[in-house]
């Protein structure tokens, strides 16, 4: 709770809203203590006194009543009515929504049909109909406003509940012997509550406005009782001659609604974990580069990653995702980068073309050189011209990585047209050739398919075709087969292997699978906690691993044909990269670790192409 409040008030706008609303509430609560004249006493002789006149701080209205007094009483009434309407709408609507969402099926169907019908009205029509039937009056306006907002809550909460009801912890609760009532109250409700609070805090302002609106129309509070809406409604007749009578209640409504909205937004942001982590920032077109230190000199490699440092700056924490990583590929070479989740292998790959999400990603050091040219120092347009043209990517999940609303033919043609200027017909013909080159069955008809009409394997073929569109020199494949079934994976790997031999492509292949590396890559680099711990030709690294981590990781991988057995495991967990230990990051899990391993910086040593970052390697590396 205190963490929530701290988060809430870190948002300056929300704090402003809280202060304004708090002040208004204090004033309103202090009404009995303030020396206010009776708000309903008529003194026609004093009508339309301007503000700051004797005895009437804000002046008087058309019947000579004190405006300040009426304003405070009216504010109290408007706030009370709006909040009560919000509470009623939220509790009834949420109850309906939870029941519909949890039980699903026919119950859901019937309830939601009813809700849809209520939502088929522009809301005021329904409110007007209710007031027409019940007669004008503040209580009836309250009922009307609450009633028209029930469907909003019901639909909103139903959506959230239906999503939660699919989650596995609900199944687990059922298997733990909980009945429907207990599941709803103990498992679902605590998870839905923040959403109800968010929905309420973002709509209570609306409801205050709506009740004020009905009063403004003369359908809410009836004279002499006044809320802010009816004050404004009565003042309208004298808008031109005595504008202050309109101004006073109007500004008050505005202040209330604005402060409630500000506070509501703050509450929403503080309760929504995605916003908390700043995950809703827009990723910039290229990763921010803030390099310290010298830029390493050029080499004669096709693509060289030199002492690359990429970090994620989240709040005060700094995650060192990639820590001085150097890699290089020559034409026609396939380099594997292997590691577990969080090892920094994907971030390394994305850093090459500035595709790391930024914020929070920042490249803080090193260089990426394509044919000697430093890409990290390049301007956006220079980098863009090379994306897809010189260096192309193949990503992991082909459903998420293709645009769902464009036909695949269009997406392929676009990949060509952003770099070259073929006509639409030429581009389409080229797209067809590309699909054929990745052995897409019925390529011609597939051009007009949308991604969702294809299977995972076909989508990944499209992804590969797109990468090949401009005959790039380097392809960076980021776990391209991880989301695929094993039989499909075998075909995609064979395809990639053929293509690289036919076209002399350089491939950087990111994976967590030793089998894939063994079959496809010439050389391999093993990453752990953001650093390369070992590298060398694939055969040597796999058959004679020098780093204890590599050796033990290979032993962990079960292989077909071994029979039922105890599997090797590495105790402990990989470290989190915002708090790395000194020395070797693997030392806490390593059975060979000595005191030296926990001190200083351990260098990546060896004779090219072999290298290992270990003081006590399993195999001599010379």
């Amino acid at each position: 709770m205190s963490a929530f409040l701290r988060l809430l008030f870190r948002n300056r706008l929300a704090a402003l809203g809280a202060v304004v609303l708090g002040a208004i509430l204090l004033l309103v609560l202090a009404i009995p203590l303030l020396p206010l004249p009776d708000p309903d006493v008529i003194a026609t002789a004093d009508r339309f006194q301007p503000p700051f006149s004797e005895g009437h701080l804000l002046g008087t209205d058309h019947l000579g009543r004190d405006l300040l007094s009426r304003l405070l009483y009216g504010t109290r009434l408007s706030l009370a009515v709006g909040v009560v309407a919000a509470l009623i709408a939220a509790s009834i609507g949420s109850a309906i929504g939870i029941i519909a969402g949890y039980f699903g099926g026919r119950i859901d169907n019937i309830i939601m049909r009813g809700v849809d019908m209520l939502m088929a009205f522009p809301y005021i029509l329904l409110a007007l109909a209710i007031v027409a039937a019940l007669g004008p009056g503040l209580l009836n306006a309250l009922i009307a406003v609450a009633a028209v907002n029930i469907p909003f809550f019901a639909r909103n909460i139903r959506g959230i509940t239906a999503g939660l009801a699919q989650r596995e912890f609900i199944d687990a609760a059922r298997l733990a012997g909980l009945g429907h009532t207990r599941i709803i109250l103990q498992e679902l409700f605590p998870n839905v509550l923040p959403v109800i609070v968010i929905a309420m805090s973002t709509t209570v302002g609306w409801m205050i406005l709506e009740t004020a609106g009905l009063s403004f129309l003369g359908l809410g509070s009836q004279p002499p009782q006044a809320d802010l809406g009816s004050m404004l409604g009565e003042a309208r007749a004298a808008l031109i001659s005595a504008p202050h009578t309109s101004f006073v209640p109007g500004v008050m409504i505005f202040l209330i609604v604005m402060s409630v909205n500000l506070l509501g937004d703050g509450i929403r942001d503080a309760l929504d974990p995605r916003l908390k982590s700043g995950a809703l920032s827009r990723p910039l077109p290229m990763t921010q580069v803030r390099r310290r230190g010298d830029v390493p000199p050029a080499t004669d490699d096709l693509l060289a990653i030199q002492h690359l440092e990429t970090q994620f700056h989240v709040g005060k924490r700094i995650y060192r995702a990639v820590n001085r990583v150097s890699l290089a590929v020559k034409p026609g070479e396939c380099l594997g980068v292997i590691g577990e989740s969080g090892s920094g292998k994907s971030v390394t790959a994305l850093s090459v073309m500035g595709l790391v999400s930024s914020p929070p990603g920042v490249i803080t050091g090193g260089a990426v050189r394509l044919e000697g040219e430093d890409l990290l120092g390049a301007k956006y347009e220079t980098l863009r011209a090379k994306r897809g043209e010189k260096v192309a990517y193949i990503f992991q999940d082909p459903l998420a990585t293709l645009h769902p609303l464009y036909k695949v033919g269009h997406q392929l043609a676009e990949a060509i047209q952003v770099h070259h200027k073929p006509s639409d017909r030429e581009a389409r013909a080229r797209a067809l050739d590309l699909l054929k080159s990745v052995r897409m069955p019925n390529a011609e008809s597939r051009l007009d398919n949308y991604p969702h009409e294809m299977s995972g394997g076909m989508r990944q073929r499209v992804g590969i075709a797109m990468a090949l569109a401009n005959d790039p020199e380097v392809i960076i494949a980021d776990e391209p087969t991880t989301a695929l079934d094993v039989t499909v994976q075998a075909q995609i790997l064979a395809l990639l292997d053929d293509l690289r031999r036919e076209r002399g492509l350089a491939i950087v292949f990111i994976t967590h699978d030793f089998g894939v590396v063994a079959q496809l890559c010439d050389s391999v680099a093993v990453m752990y906690a953001g650093r390369i711990v070992e590298q060398g030709p694939t055969d040597t690294v796999l058959n004679a691993p020098a780093h204890p981590y590599t050796k033990r990781l290979i032993a962990c991988v079960p292989e077909l044909g071994g029979g039922q057995r105890e599997l090797a495991a590495i105790p402990g967990l990989p470290p989190v990269v915002d708090n790395l230990p000194e020395g070797c990051a693997f030392a806490p899990r390593c059975d060979k670790a000595r005191d030296e391993c926990r001190r200083g910086d351990i260098p990546l040593d060896g004779q090219a192409p072999r290298a290992v970052r270990c003081l006590f390697p399993e195999e001599p590396v010379t």
Partner: protein
């Protein structure tokens, strides 16, 4: 496509029936004898007897509903007692005035809202974003009727740029420029809130989409940033913006009630408020059903637009 439209139209039938049931049930909540309640101060014994005969008001509830529904289906919405003319004639006349106002506002708020949202997302945390966020915050917090009143004070009374109220000038008006001069203030005042809501939503929809993997793919292909934003991202964001446009159309229609009162616009909203205050139940009933039915049809058009945009919706 034609099949999808037909399907949506057919599925609107139960919704339209539901609307009539809801309105009927709400009106059945009126305490006391329905004929007396409907007639109010016109409730002479002869009138009551005539109304009972015409509408079957002395019959059971279910039977009354079907008589009422049957009448409406043949275009008979009953007779307004306060105006002494057929309710449907009055409703259609007033609704067309509302359409001019609300339609203009809807176009304004859609265009301005989406534009503001996209600019705001593209320049997140930049000066333009902050300015837009600030204006939007004021837009969604200020009551449209108060905004309208302030606009009258400023533009009509102080600056004398625009007429205070009405749809046409009483003398010599009636042409398009005259209509536009009268339309400017109410349309803007009415659009303010919806513009704010649409701008906020468009901004967050754009930000959400920009984090998706397919945006990274587009960038990795070398698609220029302007095209990433205005093509790839906006198109995907429209999938969540379009349904909100449908909802906001309902809010614009609702807000028209206040604006019509403030600007003395001869629309259906003012008619309804007057009818409620005069307890002209027949006119209220007919007006609500008519406007709601039009809104249902509008939402079908929104759904069709959505299905044109998103191929994943089964047609």
């Amino acid at each position: 496509m034609g099949r999808y439209i037909l399907k949506r139209l057919l599925s609107a039938i139960p919704v339209l029936l539901g609307i009539t049931v809801i309105v009927f049930l709400i009106m059945a909540m009126i305490p006391g004898d329905p004929a007396t309640a409907i007639l109010g101060s016109y409730a002479t014994p002869e009138n009551v007897a005539k109304l009972n005969r015409d509408l079957g008001l002395d019959k059971p509830l279910v039977q009354r509903y079907f008589i009422w529904l049957g009448n409406m289906l043949t275009g008979d919405f009953g007779r307004s007692f306060s105006l002494n003319r057929p309710a449907l004639d009055e409703i259609v006349e007033r609704f067309s005035a509302t359409l001019v106002l609300a339609g203009t506002s809807f176009v304004l708020c859609s265009l301005l809202g989406i534009l503001a949202g996209v600019v705001s997302a593209a320049r997140q945390y930049g000066l333009a974003d902050k300015a837009i966020t600030f204006v939007v915050l004021i837009g969604i917090s200020v009551p449209s009727f108060f905004l309208g009143m302030m606009m009258i004070l400023l533009f009509a009374v102080n600056l004398r740029w625009l007429p205070v109220s009405g749809m046409y000038a009483i003398y010599g008006g009636g042409d398009l420029p005259d209509l536009l001069r009268h339309l400017a203030m109410p349309a803007l005042a009415l659009a303010a809130v919806a513009t704010g809501v649409i701008a906020r939503l468009s901004r967050s929809a754009m930000l959400e989409v920009l984090r998706q993997d397919y945006i990274r793919t587009a960038r990795a292909k070398g698609v220029p940033e302007r095209r990433v934003l205005m093509g790839h991202a906006l198109r995907a964001a429209m999938v969540s913006i379009i349904p909100v446009l449908g909802i906001q159309a309902g809010f614009v229609l609702s807000g028209a009630v206040y604006i019509e009162l403030v600007f003395q616009w001869p629309g259906v909203g003012r008619m309804l408020v007057d009818a409620i205050l005069k307890r002209d139940i027949i006119l209220v009933q007919g007006g609500v059903v008519f406007v709601a039915a039009c809104y249902v049809l509008f939402n079908i058009a929104v759904d069709v637009a959505q299905s044109l945009l998103d191929p994943r919706i089964k047609t």
